[in-house]
């Protein structure tokens, strides 16, 4: 959150490389190709894709604009079926005990325990309701900068991967050093490379 309302937490990424076609038709085609696919009605564990910033259920951008002036505005939505480790552990122990009694064994073999673990996990994941997470972004096309509205490292890694897949372009997080490289001339950059931390006491 932060693009449309409220306080904003964000980092900046520079976009590296050139689009093969910078027309809006091409961009929309790429965005739709990599848009979000709902997994509520199937058993997929995970889904990642683009949706409208105004409506997380709009992945075809029919009702909402994805362009504002010089900017592309999108949300990256990830739905994931998760099972808490405590529930998983409890259900595995319960099922192991059931199978052990059923087969009248003193102890289960390692391979049976592995099979039970996989089966129980798979059953629980299928029952879990996908948890959605939505991260907004604004891509300044003329300056090649993306403002990404999350400081979560996992979300930033998802953005890097999905942006590359969608547009074939790399995004590079702007930390102080890379920001400095963009602000300085060549002689200054060489000086900065060789600079070491200062003591203020």
């Amino acid at each position: 959150m932060g693009l449309l309302k409220g306080s904003a937490s964000f980092v900046r990424f520079s976009v590296e490389g050139e689009l093969p076609d910078s027309s809006l038709e091409y961009l929309l085609d790429r965005i739709i190709t990599y848009s979000f696919e709902d997994i509520d009605d199937n058993y997929e564990e995970y889904s990642l894709g683009w949706v409208s910033v105004q409506n997380m259920f709009d992945s075809q951008f029919k009702n909402a604009s994805w362009v504002a002036g010089d900017y592309i505005t999108l949300s990256l939505r990830m739905d994931e079926r998760k099972v808490s480790s405590a529930i998983l552990k409890k259900c595995i122990i319960k099922e192991e005990e059931r199978v052990r009694l059923e087969k009248q064994l003193p102890k289960l073999s390692r391979s049976t325990r592995v099979e039970i673990k996989e089966r129980v996990r798979s059953e629980l994941v299928r029952k879990a309701i996908p948890i959605p997470a939505v991260y907004e972004l604004a891509w300044n096309l003329s300056e090649g900068v993306v403002i990404f509205f999350s400081t979560n490292k996992k979300a930033q890694a998802l953005l890097e991967d999905h942006f590359r897949e969608t547009f074939g372009l790399l995004v590079k997080q702007q930390i102080p050093y890379t920001t400095a490289e963009a602000l300085l001339d060549e002689a200054q950059i060489i000086k900065l490379e060789n600079a070491s931390p200062e003591l203020f006491v």
Binding site: G2, L3, L4, S7, A8, S9, F10, V11, R12, V53, Q54, A64, S65, A68, G69, Y71, T73, A138, N140, I147, T151, K172, Q173, Q174, I175, P176, Y177, T178, T179, A180, L183, L184, Q188, K191, L192, A195, P197, E198, L199, F200, V201
Partner: protein
């Protein structure tokens, strides 16, 4: 060098910048004179964290208090720590922004934007929504542009011959603040 190595190796750069910005703002009573823009207000608010060392020897303190009373933070400076994050208000052109900046990664956290006519729409009219989005992006970019101008001012000084004089003044400021804390 890849990004992970750069973050680790150049962690000090953003921390030095924030520490310098605090000094600069304190030096002129909450104002900074940007080379191309002139005076803007830069006020350090009630929350900041400081760090020293790295890896296993990393030490961090978090302080909160009114702007003039960040005593623990000032003591932290005297112990050789630098700012890792700080809540800062930037004021210019009748705008007032408030943001928590992190030094090592340059993250902008909980940025409060000024309310303008363009940002206060109900969201039912698509054209108004687009205008509102553009207005908010404009304000966010004003904030990042201002931070970058402060950063550029720091870098120009940091990489010039004038940096030694600046370091002397920062050390005096750190020492003076430590005395104030001691005698209070």
């Amino acid at each position: 060098m890849d990004l992970v190595d750069l973050i680790a190796e150049k962690r000090w750069l953003g921390q030095e910048f924030l520490t310098w910005l605090w000094f600069k703002s304190d030096e002129r009573g909450g104002t900074i004179a940007l080379p191309e823009r002139g005076d803007i207000s830069v006020t350090f608010e009630k929350h900041m964290s400081l760090e020293s060392g790295e890896g296993e020897s990393l030490e961090r303190i978090t302080c909160s208090g009114q702007q003039s009373e960040l005593r623990e933070a000032r003591t932290g400076l005297a112990m050789g720590k630098k700012l890792e994050s700080a809540r800062i208000s930037f004021g210019f052109n009748d705008y007032e922004f408030s943001v928590t900046l992190s030094g090592s990664l340059m993250e902008y956290r909980s940025a409060a934007l000024p309310k303008t006519e363009g940002t206060e729409v109900d969201g039912s009219n698509p054209e108004e929504v687009e205008g509102m989005v553009l207005e908010r992006i404009f304000l966010l970019e004003e904030l990042t542009k201002t931070v970058n101008e402060c950063f550029k001012m720091f870098l120009d000084l940091r990489l010039s011959d004038g940096w030694r004089d600046e370091v002397s003044q920062i050390r005096e400021w750190v020492e003076k603040n430590a005395e104030v804390v001691t005698f209070d």
